[in-house]
Amino acid sequence: MGPTTAGSPLLELEGITKRFPGVVANDRVDFDVRPGEVHTLLGENGAGKSTLMKILYGLYHADEGEIRLRGEPVTIDSPSDAIEQGIGMIHQHFMLVPTLTVAENVALGLPSGRRLLQDLSPVQQRIRELSEIYGLQVDPDAYIWQLAVGERQRVEIMKAIYRDVSLLILDEPTSVLTPAEVDDLFVTLRQMTDGGRGLVFISHKLHEVMSLSDRITVLRGGRVTGRTVPSETSREQLAHMMVGREVRLAPNRSEADVADARLTISALEVLGDRGTPAVTDFDLEVRSGEVVGIAGVSGNGQRELAEALAGLRPAASGTVVMNGVETTAKTPKEIRRLGVSYIPEERMRDGAIGEFSVAENLILTSHDLPPTSRRGFLNFKQIETGCSDLVRRFTVKTPSLETPTANLSGGNIQKLIIARELSGEPEVLIASQPTRGVDIGAAEYIHTVLMDQRAGGIAILLISEDLDEVIGLSDRIAVMFEGRVMGILDQEEATVQRLGLLMAGVSDGEAEERAGRQPAGSGPV
């Protein structure tokens, strides 16, 4: 990676401490960025990354410590102060107005030459120039709502470049991108640092951190637990610094007996929210003892597929057979009774009820079955013993069974959902993004549980945007693009590059052709 530019740092954070009632979010954190470098901030949820960046961006005040820009101490009281000082931030969720054009979004908040009406033509002109310089394809006249996610992100970057920021903070910028888009993004980011800008990169995807960073600072529990450079560390070591103990990144996959088909999807078509087909001509089979992964960029029909399998969204045509029974016209309850369980993608929306206690959430799907209830009355004694057992078995960390579920951490809520979904001893499990947003320790545990279930003979359909997870867990991987299966790869032949091309809609034949031309290892791994 590029050598770090010597000389005085662009930004220095010294001894930053931020306390919230009951927690120290940042404990004497030192952090600096030199011109022309990418300095990665790595850490789990709750480690204090966002707090630190919010302090830098003027959203929080530090209780102690000093911020220096180009050697000068500064106080940043608000985001507008930060912008004035040349600090830009690209949030995980884009801050764009969908009904306005690219140029209008870029011009938003900038002082206008005229009083009331803004003349956009110089803005458009400048955007075109910058597009050229940075190889950042952005059409200033396009409306935001017309743009794909990757393009929207380019608009965000364009906003930052247009304002000529000297320091740019990127909060998990790759979570919505295909591997190819990530490559493009990294090229753009490198061009920005070559111009002397400093970047703060926040991510938890270790391979991206390894490939992009010049320096890495790891936070855990509000403290700096490691400073390193990619050439002197490994993904395992980084994970160790984040979690504080040894972590197995790749789950152990034993040989499992693959038997008869448990889930057969044929020619399935499902309509999306707008009434247009979100899933088309979809064929897939999952056998017992097998994990079939579904890879793809979010928004290519995965959610609609999962909802159709759950009975929450009607199938427009085609059939789904689970455990030998056609389920296309069945209700969610009937499908569940056939031995099908779900780990939904949005856990706080679809998976659990935040206001409900841990126990209530654990019995949500089985509350009307004996022994949980009899003749319509809940059996609290049984619930108490059954739930304590589940909490123990699945290591859900909770103060009590009565604790409101929203008070648990993301990883523990996910464990709770998995405990509930596996408590019915299902034969088919549909797991959507089972480890998204959970800490590494919980993710490791969830992977182990899934592998145990596979060994136990259940059929698992794993829908995930995390390619490492899909490759690590699946026996076969189907790539979804625009609602179709672009191709199915066996685990042995699946690489990030091959999957990435399929995810971008390049068919397998073309993909092989390209793979032949390109030397292996040029991708972002």
Binding site: R349, D350, E355, H367
Partner: protein, 355 residues
Amino acid sequence: MLVVLGANPLTGYAALLDGAFGGAKNLANSALKAMPLLLVGVGITIAFRAGVINIGGEGQIIAGAILSTLFVLGFPDVPRFVLLPLTFLVGALGGAIWGGMAGVLKSYARVNEILSTIMLNIIAVQILNLLLRGPLMDPGEIEKGSRIPHTERLSGNADLPILPGGTRLHLGVLIAVLMAVACYFLLFRTTQGLRLRAVGHNPFASRYAGMSVKRNVVLAFMYSGAMCGMAGVTLVFGSEGHRLATDGGATTFTGAAGFNGIVAALFGGLHPLWTIPASFLFGALLVGANAMQRAVQVPAALILALNGLVVVFVVGSMYARARLARAASESSDQDGESDSRSPVRSADPEPRNPP
């Protein structure tokens, strides 16, 4: 407010307290005033817990009152111990049908329930007026030519028995308390209650867990309406005239219990058991208001204003508490996904995912 109205506040409030709580007779009157508020309040609580807003208490009271009156007019000679329970049942059914209509409209035609319940209130009032000026009018009134819009004195077998103790307290008060306890069990001890609360908190997760949101929304309205319908029964068969009456206007015989019950439910924190003291307090306020009016000549409407203030304060304090709770959870998880911590609170019976 009393000072503004030129009255001595101390005398005023003393009169209010004495009128509401002074002596067994006044206490009994307060309890009688609280009885319909309590029944409506627990009904409203069920609806709110299931995530739907029932403003239709008035209409459901009237529906329950009409149906039970028709029933007693049809079977006046059934012995009391059979007639009374059946009357309550029929009244509950009337309220349940009226409430259920709003539920069906919401679940299957996506009609906003606030709108439909208010409209159903108006329809019920007009049906009541129509019936009492027409087919149900007391034949005696027609004979005399005075044509007061009320029914004949209903069968004595359906009178709510006066409780011992020398006050006007009757069985309806006991039934109201009993129903509050029953609703507590329904909401927190049964599978149906779990489903209602689940749907109220998070329809998305409920659907994923295999519950029918539409069905539970209809059921919530029916339980809610049934409670209000029983309030109608107590108002008719516990009234001094033992008849169904109307003033010909929009308030009829209910004394706005269908609305005041909402206040009682909110003040009781949407918990059936806490609604018992909450509605007693409001009943007492209403009774005391009349005493105050007599003592210092301020309008009893003042108490209604006070009622409104309480709603503002209660809702305001709930809002403040929610904000505090959010602030606390944010500070303990400043780095986490804050978006995952705000579960959807909408009660759309047909949850659709945003594109």
